[in-house]
């Protein structure tokens, strides 16, 4: 098996390949990842599964060196799974694979303990290097993501309550409806909206909702 790689890595390949767990709800994507890894002698895909719950289970079973984790999955999302796994196995090395480059989502994932945040559009080029880097104990970020993170690094994060409000704003709800949904007063809603606008630097509610979506603070 000839791999055009650095000698250093090639040496350490065969006997202890990097054991990898792939978590994605899409089988074809998992298939693609499997194909990528399969060509690497220093990597071995030990298990793949399609949601967070299975990921926790498989992690316990296989104790992979590196876990590739999608964020948006049915039953249990990637973020929760990361938290759960990291809670159980603080050394777990997890790479987040995602479609979007939202700073908040990335930040959350990193705060939850992910070692890397990789956009899927770059996977075909960077996955292998990233796996190796993470396995070597490094943290990596896609350039887009790191740019966004830097941009908002000094922003005040939205509180949970504010995120709830922003989610409902994006759903097209008025203050009164939001207050009803969240069982809080309309004045509280107004106060939170004010905070949201200020924290996100938004001009108005819709702008805020757009920012929230873009940055991954909220999802539809």
């Amino acid at each position: 098996m000839v791999v055009k790689q650095d000698g250093n890595e090639r040496v350490s390949a065969s006997p202890n390949p990097i054991r990898i767990l792939a978590v994605d709800d899409h089988p074809l994507l998992r298939g693609g990842i499997a194909a990528l890894i399969a060509g690497q002698p220093d990597m071995s895909l030990v298990a793949e599964c399609s949601n967070g719950r299975e990921a926790i289970h498989d992690f316990r079973t296989h104790r992979p060196d590196v876990t590739l984790m999608d964020l948006q999955m049915p039953e249990m999302g990637g973020l929760d799974a990361i938290i759960a796994i990291r809670g159980e196995f603080p050394d777990a090395r997890i790479i987040v694979l995602t479609t979007y480059a939202g700073d908040v989502q990335a930040l959350r994932a990193l705060q939850a303990g992910a070692r890397a945040y990789l956009l899927k559009s770059l996977v075909h080029k960077e996955l292998l290097d990233t796996i190796r880097a993470v396995h070597a104990g490094k943290k990596t970020l896609s350039p887009d993501v790191s740019y966004q993170l830097a941009e908002h690094a000094t922003d005040d994060a939205l509180t949970k309550g504010e995120i709830d409000v922003l989610q409902l704003i994006a759903g097209g709800n008025a203050n009164k409806q939001i207050a009803d949904r969240l069982s809080i007063t309309e004045d509280t809603v107004k106060g939170r909206v004010k905070n949201i606008l200020s924290k996100l630097g938004a001009d108005d509610r819709t702008h805020a909702a757009m920012i929230g979506l873009k940055r991954g603070i909220i999802e539809l």
């Binding site: 055009k4 994605d24 709800d25 899409h26 089988p27 074809l28 994507l29 998992r30 298939g31 693609g32 990842i33 194909a35 990528l36 399969a38 060509g39 948006q72 479609t99 979007y100 899927k120 559009s121 770059l122 996977v123 075909h124 080029k125 996955l127 994006a170 759903g171 097209g172 709800n173 008025a174 009164k176 409806q177 108005d204 819709t206 702008h207 909702a209 757009m210 979506l213 873009k214 539809l220």
Partner: protein, 1066 residues
Amino acid sequence: MPRQSYTDASTRTGISCKRLFTTMVPSVSGKRRRIVARTIAVAFAVLTSCPSAFALNPTLEVSQYAHSAWTVADGFTKGAIYAIAQTPDGYLWLGTEFGLLRFDGVRTTLWPSDRVFPSSQIRTLLTGRDGTLWVGTSKGLASWKDGRLTVYAELAGHIVTRMIQDRDGAVWVVGTTPPTGKLCAIRNGGVRCWGEDGRFGARVTEMYEDRKANLWFGEPRGVWRWNQGQPQFYPLRIDRSVQALSEDSDGVLLVLLSGRIYRMMDGQVLEAYRLPDAIGRLTTRFVLRRDRDGGLWIGALGGGLAHIHNGTVDQFSESDGLSGNAVATLFQDREGNIWVGTQAGLDRFRELPVAPFTARQGFSNLRILAVVASTDSSVWVRTADGLNQWKDGRVNVYREFSGLSDSTALPHMSPATRDPADDGGQFESSGGALFEDERGRIWFSATRSVGYLDRGRFTAVRTIPGGRVHSITGNLMGHLWFAHETQGLFHLAGEHAVERISWARLGHTDYADTLAVDPSSDGLWLGFFRGGVEFVKDGQVRASYAEAGGMAPGRVNDLRFGRDGALWAAAEGGVSRLKSGRITTLSSRDGLPCSEAHWTMEDDAGDFWLSMPCGLVRIARTDLDAWTSLADEKLPQSTIPVTVLATADGVRSRGNAGPFSPHVAKARDGRLWFFPLEGLSALDPHRLSFNTPPPPIAIEQISADSRIYLPASEVRLPPLIRNLAIDYTALSFVAPEKVRFRTKLEGHDREWQNVGNRRQAFYTDLGPGRYRFRVTASNNSGVWNEAGASLDFAIAPAYYQTNLFRASIVAALLALLWSVYQLRLRQIAREYNARLDERVSERTRVARELHDTLLQTFHGLLFRFQAATNLLPEGPARQSFESAIDQAAQAITEGRDAVQGLRSSTVTTNDLPAAIGSLGDELSTNETNKSAVAFHVHVEGAPRNLHPIIRDDIYRIAGEAIRNAFRHAQARHIDADIEYHARQLRLLVRDDGQGIDPTVIEGSGRGHWGLPGMRERAELIGGHLEVWSQLGSGTEVRLTIPASRAYATSSGRRFWWSSSKTGTNA
């Protein structure tokens, strides 16, 4: 009503008589005046020369007037009637023992019920010329005008016994407080009294103003004359107290002293009339009134009425039907009726067109067989018991004492006593015809033979049998004909030459009961009992007319030649006119009230009179002439106008004509004499008592649901009146029962309603609104008061009948409709939004689907390709693959961004201006002609939330338009205006470039402007796209979207009214 002075009366009656009667009667003959007292005669002549419409024919006695009585016993009033007056509005006022009554001829009303006179015992009444009603009571004087009552302190406690108003308007009042009294004159509210000194005025019992405006005051011992403010006393040498004053027809003062009437001239008194003992002896209190036709009426307290007419005195008392013998007052109203107030009631006298003559006038028997008028102006009447001659108001009775024997001796005839009960028993009623020959002899039929009366002596003609001789006639040559029921027709020429023609010889089994000589030949006309008329000459029938030839059928009662030479035959089946052999018949088909005619007569004016069972019929001469001229030319006739006099006019009808002729006589004075079954009737065609003044009309009260309202300028009634009654009356007293009314309630009736003589109009359930009640009336002569009277009243609407209420109902309905409309609008908007939401969710679903499946799949495939590529050796193939993979990754990223765009568009609802602005900025930096273009976005109105889909579409349309402007227009300025209006959203994109070819705009030409796509998109979101462009001067694209489509409503924006009604609208 002002007192009618003598001259005024004659002037006015003169006018009315000219209008009513075309021909005047010649003045009465001098002979007639001979018996009449000199003084009365003057007035009589003046009066009769012009008969009055108000007339009370002074040649008649009281008993010949129509009399009506209302008695206390029948409940008419509570007590004695002391005074009568008539106010200008037409009402009669009765001063009674128990208050003042208003009387309209039918109803009495105690009046004024809420005012208090000094005493309820009314003693005298006077209507001033200004309309004031003066009320003299037993305890003082009051006057009443325009609803105001004035009481005079000067007469407080006095019995007011007499009141008059003099020519200057001063009201003179006599008040007594026995044993003294006073006389007061009230002028313009100022009162001056006399009598406190015991001299003038202290003992006045009677007052009178004569035609020369002299004021006279009667006292026990004499008469004062008011002379230029200075009273002058004329002592009477007769030791009697003055009981009443009046004046004679020549203006001389009449003084009534103890039942005798004296004329007073130059302080001297002369006895003129003596009242019957029954009146004069027993009474000390009198009232005296001269009627407008010169009749003098005397009322005695206890003796009834006396009436001096034509120089003679007649009486009328309780036994004749007067309500009582205690006469307290006399009054003549504006229509000429004489009213008598007694202690027991009220009486009215008026003249009838047809006056009755009975035993009271001296006729010996009330069964009359025939009547004939003599050339000497007397009227001969064949009564059942003899002959009566009426001449100059007296009756001479001829009755047989020794019988008309068949001896040649002349019967002994002499004027009989005037005892109607004694009919002698021998003057049989079997025969009855009368005739006056050319020598003035009165022929008649007695038991055994006919005979004549000549200057009071009877001569029998024994050659002609007596008994049932039905008709006698004769010509100027001394020929006489007698129609005997059984013996046939007798012809007497000279004294003895007698010719007899049996009925059989004339071809009849019946007999002729009426005869007439032909004025143009010596022939004779016969009318037969069983019908038919024949002309007989020289003992031969020359002509015969029967029903088949057009004659009126049935018994021929009367034949008479008219002044035009036509023969009139009155028969059972009508009246036939025979002239020049032509017959025309009038019957009930031609407008007569019934068919049987008893007789016909033409009066001096040429008017035609016809006696029928249903009354006395008058056909005006002109109407008859019109009818006869058509008849002579045999032209078709319309109905003929007639006037019918019936019972109310004094006509007493009979069912058949009676067997003997003549049935009617026209006296020289023009009066028609005829006879009902009992007594005689006289009609003076010149005095038809036409009642000219139209009756005043009064609306008395309006009662609504038992509440009474007095007439005011406008009576306001409460809402929801169920029963409404309006009392009205017409003040004609001649025959109130013949008054006819017409009413109309404007606002309810369209036409006038003929309501007969009803004096109350009744309406039920009148709606709210304004009404005018109008009423007109005609008097007994059919004279209408055309102006009538009216009363305005208004019924208030109930709350639900008000316009405000109706308007609010309409408003509520409109509001409801509007609500429904809005509801529908909202429903449509909701449906539209639901569709939009569907589109949104569809897009979201598509986005998610793309993201979740396609993108991931592509990623997966890409990974595999990458994995496969990794296996390739370095070289062109691997490079080519890697490049393809990079491009595929790039495509996936773009796809991702598109998906993200799809998703984010559903929330970016309000950044249209910003989006357009940034698009413009982007284009202006990218395009090649960036140096020249200036792009601006303008926002007008407050930006509103747009539905995401709409926003996207608008954005795309705007983008297309802006791109067009940038790419093709070569514009220097491009402007985008976004206008948020209340009713619509408008987007304008304009440039100042080179414009678009019109064919492209119209859609016929294809270009790269994408206009069809823009239009389709606009229509899809319910908008409208207009493109205006001109080559060389720019382009303007206008997109208009209605507010209901454009603006988002899901943010809780609701209609104002729906927020409170969410529950019912949901």
